[in-house]
């Protein structure tokens, strides 16, 4: 496989639409002085150009410093040590890296050309100049998430930017869901939507900053209670699982996946298990949606103990209750797993059992929901692999997914 320069990912996910609209825009690493081009945005490539993981705005210095050190309670102490060292260096004007990337506009470009850039559009939508830092994303469903700050480095929010068919749908979904939730007013909150805009045909969703006192350590924040787990995704009806929109959509996507040779076998196995799931004829509690990726890395608690849940891009409507509880358990297991291909569905079910009982699922129902979760996980991986044409970027291999399905099938049989 040919190595891709980190900046190519950023360009693909962030600037490509503007660059394709105007040849008078470009992004260049360490450009030589050139009278023909004027820099409009400038970022440190941290730690270096060849293995950049972070883009930090170069100016103003305070902005650069704060962009590195905001949200410190969401990071591990080790990461914070590095961030604070970098933040102090930025404040003193010490270079953070040997390399920069400059976003430039050609001198002879028509007026307004620079306004095509996403940061200019965000500044316009938010009514003030904003600066952004961002990580370099290379995984499945990669997309740019900009951490926005103002001229003095105060957090303004987060912006997610779609760049292809898949990520456009994810970003739009998150916008729709956050608009519907409206932030929440109880013990569980989702960041409020502060802007939605179109970036040359791609959706952008901007959410409010997380509270400065929100703690997001993976291990030291209390797990969601059952009440919290269902606070933003309440039960709205009871129905057979076959009649839920979520399972229907999953099965439809698995049907489509049968067309792709490299996912066909797994999709077929998942369809077989989904047929067993769909045969369960007991009405089950159905939530208006499930979060879709409720995991320790997508939540924090503020100083008053309120739970904040973000990253709703995988949410799906009309889902059997309990999928989020199982995903939470599975994701927690994943954090400690030596071999993700051998993760245990029964262990996840045992860990989620109290939540499933809390929402009113009987024992046999819980095994069915666990099987539905396994099918959903496999379908999601199949769909990504179908779009990307490869399994190379999947967090779990086809063998691991088949293992998951076998466990789901045996749970079903023994329940």
């Amino acid at each position: 496989m040919i190595a891709v320069h980190p900046l190519d990912h950023v360009t693909e996910q962030l600037w490509a639409p503007a660059f394709s609209r105007s040849g008078a825009l470009r992004a260049v690493v360490d450009p030589a002085p050139d009278q023909e081009w004027r820099t409009v945005e400038s970022y440190w490539l941290v730690p270096n150009a060849e293995s950049a993981r972070l883009l930090v705005p170069r100016r103003p210095r305070t902005t650069a410093s704060r962009a590195l050190t905001n949200y410190r309670r969401l990071r591990t102490p080790g990461t914070n040590v590095a961030r604070f060292a970098l933040g102090a260096a930025a404040r003193l004007g010490v270079p953070l890296s040997a390399s920069t990337v400059e976003v430039q506009v050609r001198h002879d470009a028509p007026p307004g050309t620079a306004d095509l850039l996403p940061l200019a559009r965000l500044s316009e939508a938010l009514g003030r100049q904003v600066f952004a830092s961002t990580g370099v994303r290379t995984s499945d469903n990669r997309k740019t998430m900009l951490q926005l700050v103002d001229a003095v480095g105060e957090p303004v929010g987060y912006a997610k930017v779609g760049w292809d068919e898949v990520t456009d749908r994810l970003v739009a979904t998150e916008g729709d869901v956050l608009a519907a939730i409206g932030g929440g007013d109880g013990p569980v909150r989702a960041p409020r939507l502060i802007a939605r805009l179109d970036y040359l045909g791609h959706p952008v969703t901007v959410t409010e900053p997380l509270p400065a006192d929100a703690r997001g350590s993976l291990t030291r924040v209390a797990e969601p209670t059952s009440e919290e787990l269902f606070a933003l995704t309440p039960v709205v009806r009871h129905a057979r699982i076959a009649e839920t929109g979520q399972l229907r959509a999953v099965r439809a996507r698995l049907d489509e996946a049968l067309d792709a040779p490299h996912v066909r076998e797994l999709a077929g196995q998942a369809l077989a298990v989904s047929a067993e799931v769909a045969a369960h004829d007991v009405p089950l509690p159905v939530t208006d949606r499930w979060h879709g990726d409720l995991a320790p890395w997508n939540r924090a608690r503020d100083a008053e103990g309120r739970l904040w849940i973000w990253d709703w891009e995988n949410a799906e409507p009309d889902a059997v209750a309990g999928l989020d509880a199982l995903h939470w358990a599975f994701s927690t297991q994943r954090l400690a797993a030596r071999d993700v291909d051998r993760m245990s569905l029964p262990d996840a079910l045992a860990a989620a059992n109290h939540h499933l009982a809390a929402i009113g699922l009987g024992e046999a129902d819980r095994a069915v929901v666990a099987a539905a979760y396994a099918v959903t996980t496999v379908e999601r991986a199949c769909t990504i692999a179908r779009h990307s044409g490869t399994w190379e970027t999947a967090f779990i291999s086809p063998d691991g997914l088949a293992h998951l399905l076998r466990q789901a099938a045996s749970r079903q049989e023994s329940s």
Binding site: S226, E227, G360
Partner: protein, 296 residues
Amino acid sequence: MASTTEIKARVPRPAMDLANWTTRQWGLATAARRGLPDFLVIGTKRGGTTSLFNYLLMHPGILGLYPQVRGRKSTDYFFRNLHLGEPWYRSHFHTDAHLERATRRLGYRPQSGEASPFYMWDERIPERVHELAPSVKAIALVRDPVERAWSHYQERVQNGVEPLSFPEALEAEERRTAHELERMRNDPDYHADAWDWYAYRQRGVYLPQLETWTATFPREQLLVLRSEDMYADVQSAFDTTCEFLGLPSVELPTRKTFNASARAPMPESVRAELTDFYAPHNARLEAFLGRSLHWS
């Protein structure tokens, strides 16, 4: 002046853990010289168990669990901590020497006990208690089961484990708790939170719970109090309990309620349904107790 609870809250967690570990080790090292409970307050949940136990602790002849400064109400030994063994359980009670000193000071032998509403709800417990302490006296508080169910539900909501509305929770009760009793019968070490948390309706059917105790202990070793009687006249309920335990009664310094929760009104339709459900069960309980309970 700061209360014990306030002082404890100021002590750093590691220091508290060390103190607890040290006292428990001492308790274990001297377990052979320690006694067993004289009484157990066995329930019912949301029926005033905590309040009655705290009133009893105000009696000079009642000793709290060792070490008393921790202010613990229960060991949870008979359903959660059985695997820790009898010496561990004994480590929570006072030494014979301590009891002798207290006896000399008081002029009568003081008594020790603990309180857990699960002791009435877990049918395995009476036999376990009998095996260890056959002369123990049990005190049960029974409360209007309709009010009890609602209070129990509200407590679960406050504890963050109840995502359903009260009617939904009642409807889901059987599914939530199915097979748990069977598991408890098959596995002596099994403890189900769902059995404790979500049995809002079944836990108000008191007679079978009391019968597990009378099937194991002589009837005269069980005192059944009506919670409403205690709420209305704390001193009187306290005096009755002291008489049952063979202790002289004393004037209580306070009659405040402990572990009460804020009340919201119960949905009327649910109240009516529960009232109908409990009517025959309450009638059988009244026959068993030989008195009217005057419940809804």
